[in-house]
Amino acid sequence: MIASRDKAPEREDIESLLPWHAAGTLSRRDSERVEQALAQDAELARRFELVREEMVETIHLNETLGVPSARAAQRLFAAIESEQQQAPKRATSFDLGGWLAGLVESFSPRTLAWAGTAAAVAIVIQAGLLAGVFLKDRQAGYQTASRNEPAITASSTQGSFALVRFNPAASAADLTRFFDEHKASLVEGPRAGGIYRIRVSSNNLGKDDLAKLVARMAEDKNVVAFIVPSQ
């Protein structure tokens, strides 16, 4: 009984860290403390699943908020242009490599700690494969974009989208087949919880059509652990 009381503050402390553990933003030391506690405490593990549900739906909710129009960028860069004309500064050339590298940064699987080592390794492999798919898509987007408007805006807003978490056991071949069969491409990710945003159609599908398409994709259990429509 005394031992159990002694453990209570430690358990409360661990429980307060669960949201950050799910998001992968704890220090390694705290993350290991949480992992150990989760392995020994079934109730804590159940509560961690509640946290993960909240996180997935929070991401989904935010994704449905849409994206800003090109007007915001036009206004910003017009203001910058105006300031530059008033106080000219040294211009530098555009570093395409750096630009692409910047996009790849979004694949950094810093949020994978919660998933456990085995799952993390599998998802890291997926991230590498998906980065290739993603970059191919992005390069095409850049070529067709206007000079003053960041290419990512058009590339990430045209078509129909879904949020997906891949099955950690899926192989590279499974993923390749999945993207080929569904004519899908990666737009963004991995994000918290190993969530990716994928383009499932180049057309703006209606809500029902998108739901049907996503439901078909969800049937591919070998590849898809979770999928929902997204804007």
């Binding site: 915001a72 960028a73 500064k89 940064e105 805006t153």
Partner: protein, 186 residues
């Protein structure tokens, strides 16, 4: 391939590199926009504000000391501007369409309970949280901010960040229970 860090981009922006600014904007504008939109509830106002946020980044890049992540710095600027705008703008400017997208007061938890999709109920309850609770949940789950980073953005002690997150989640559970979803916690 070595990624160009946000900090390196900001150094280039401080030197007047407009293209580095485009890269930084492309990388962060959607998240900053959504963060602002969740505060002001009006897409047009949110668009104006993100232009102002990134214009501040352009102007103040030379002062950025990299004591926090660039994204944390930008969210702190965005939060300040959004809250200032909320103090300036009357409530009638809330766009009806966006209000519907963000919060649906007519669709209270009891009505939502009739919908069997637990995920949808959870999302509805997330929108029904207070602005403070919504903000902290967004920062932790969607913007992937650590305890220390949230403290820096919101301007509260780290211990308060943890307790506010706890009470936000507790309130969420209460809303879910009222909507017929008992999670057995807290």
């Amino acid at each position: 391939m070595q990624a160009t860090s946000d900090e390196a981009l900001i150094s280039r922006i401080a030197a007047g590199d407009k293209l580095a600014m485009q890269v930084l904007y492309a990388r962060h504008h959607v998240r900053v926009y959504r963060f602002v939109l969740r505060i002001v509830g009006n897409s047009s106002v949110a668009e104006d504000l993100i232009s102002e946020v990134f214009l501040d980044v352009w102007r103040q890049a030379g002062k950025f000391e990299a004591r926090s992540a660039a994204s944390t710095w930008m969210l702190a600027i965005a939060r300040f501007k959004a809250l200032s705008a909320m103090r300036r703008k009357p409530e009638e400017e809330l766009d009806d369409d966006m209000a519907g997208a963000i919060e649906d007061p007519s669709d209270d938890p009891e009505v939502v309970a009739q919908k069997k999709d637990k995920s949808e109920i959870l999302r509805k309850c997330l929108t029904a949280l207070s602005p403070d609770h919504r903000e902290i949940i967004d920062l932790v789950y969607y913007h992937e901010k650590s305890v220390e980073e949230v403290a820096g953005i919101v301007g509260i002690p780290e211990a308060t960040v943890k307790t506010r997150m706890f009470y936000a989640r507790k309130k969420l559970s209460e809303l879910l229970k009222a909507a017929g979803v008992d999670r057995g916690w807290p």
